[in-house]
Symmetry: C2
Subunit: 309 residues, 2 copies
């Protein structure tokens, strides 16, 4: 039981109608790891600069996250993103992106990272995803995320990477863009025909849908009256989803995939309640399971009236 994630480790400056934060700890691998650590031993692999210091390592390590594969580049600067969200939090604007050491990233995996049971290839250049995938031969479940940039600039490489994983976890607009199919069910089928057994289409506040060759499952986003910062929600989703799957000792069947969707939904919902990693960093497993039970109650119905009616 061990989970490796390869992706960005960053500082984020974020402004939303509900507040503002400067240079918060962020990045895909960070949000993912903070969510996944409730379920398993997680190892983020990614580069940071000299601005990534003892406080940042301490935050991760105190939550049981293995930081040995975080590569600190002397003289370098960490990935930095600054963005703002409109009153409608679905509308985001990037104001600054500085790749820093992430621009020259060449993943170097320790033996422990290579031995992962579950692997998440977060949104990085698809050739790098393939290199990492090739090194993790023991993984029983591999998933990848991607983005419009790679669909536009490295589509063949991305399609090759997709054919080598078990699961694709992307925004629903990206499933459509990748396949040129505006119908999501057809688009998901087109992805599955390339090899993966599952496609998870993230749908923002509407939740997420899971497609396999012969099944469909969907969960709404957990309803929240206070959403302060959506940054990292998708990565927290993936962390909850794959973290649970790594912890699940049985077969990764439909029932366990659906339960993993539930954990992903719950972790994403906690993520957006406060800025950056604030909420997930002080979350407890009890709160997670309590919210999963609430989500369960919010999604169940009986197609036939009880006999007594």
């Amino acid at each position: 039981m061990s989970l490796t994630v390869v992706g960005s480790i960053a500082f984020d400056s974020v402004r939303t109608p509900f507040g503002e934060r400067q240079r918060m700890l962020g990045g895909t691998a960070v949000h993912f790891s903070l969510a996944a650590r409730f379920f398993t031993e997680v190892r983020p692999v990614g580069p940071v600069g000299e601005d990534f210091g003892a406080a940042e390592f301490e935050l991760l390590e105190s939550r049981g996250i293995a930081t040995g594969d975080i590569e600190r580049v002397e003289g370098g600067k960490s990935f930095f993103w600054r963005g703002r969200y409109e009153y409608d939090l679905n509308v985001a604007h990037t104001e600054d992106t500085q790749l820093g050491v992430f621009g020259e990233f060449e993943p170097k995996l320790s033996e422990k990272s290579k031995a992962a049971d579950v692997l998440f290839l977060a949104n990085i250049q698809p050739d790098l995803q393939r290199q990492v995938r090739a090194q993790c031969g023991k993984a029983r479940f591999c998933a990848l995320d991607s983005m419009n940039l790679w669909i536009d600039t490295a589509k063949d490489s991305l399609l090759a990477a997709i054919s080598e994983v078990d699961c694709v976890i992307v925004n629903d607009a990206e499933v459509r863009q990748l396949t040129g199919e505006s119908n999501l069910a057809r688009a998901a089928r087109a992805v599955i025909e390339r090899g993966p057994r599952a496609v998870v289409a993230k749908q923002g506040e509407y939740g997420a849908a899971l497609f396999t060759d012969d099944t469909f499952f969907a969960l709404p986003g957990f309803p929240l009256e206070d959403v302060r910062d959506p940054t990292g929600a998708g990565d927290s989703f993936a962390g909850g989803f794959l973290g649970y799957l790594d912890s699940h000792t049985g077969e990764l069947d439909e029932a366990s995939l659906r339960r993993a969707m539930g954990y992903g939904t719950v972790l994403a919902s906690f993520n957006v309640e406060e800025f950056g990693t604030e909420r997930v960093a002080r979350l407890s497993r009890e709160e997670i399971d309590e919210r999963l039970a609430m989500l369960h109650r919010m999604t169940q119905f009986e197609p036939l009236p009880a006999a007594a009616e």
Copy 2:
């Protein structure tokens, strides 16, 4: 057990990437009635012109729909809408709207219509909705729909109408616009504070969400690989939802509201499979219940692994 719907009866000319139809029978009250008739006796109330002939009456009557309150205006023309949808069927363009007799509509309800157990005030001017509501004193459940036009031009009147019904069934963007709240959960609460016990937010292909004072429930849209014409999907949803509620002899509790959401989702999904009323007009109750069972299987999960795992 009887259901009255007040709304448009129209001819629609529709072009989508999957075909084109001229002057199909359409309109809110038509789509609603064709969905609701599987569950109960439904009476559409609305005006038509001389272009609405024996064939149109026959189509409705042969499906058990009571047409006595369809008012045929001598010398008038029926509501006409022409629109097209882009490759992404979520993007619609109205190319022509001719209100015809609908522009001068003053609802006249027969005694049978006034005696309805369930009432649906489809999207018409809110003062007219209130007039109709006042005449239907026996209804045990009243719902209304509306649109951005009335939020912009007759908001006070619309808010008064909302305070007089049990349920608001609108697009989720309209819940937000109506309340000035971008957060859907807060927006729904603001509507409920005005009187209704439930808000149904229609979310297009993402499905629909049900809010009450202390519960939340959501269903995804039924996944379809072939969607040909989305026109009328929301009205078919409302027809399945309210038709089921009218047929349900027990208390209209959370379980029955959720089951009604299921029927609404199923009717909407059949509606979009073909153009206009084509699919729903030849649908059977067996097909509906079969799809409801499929929807049920697509939305259930177990938060805890089975003990044997």
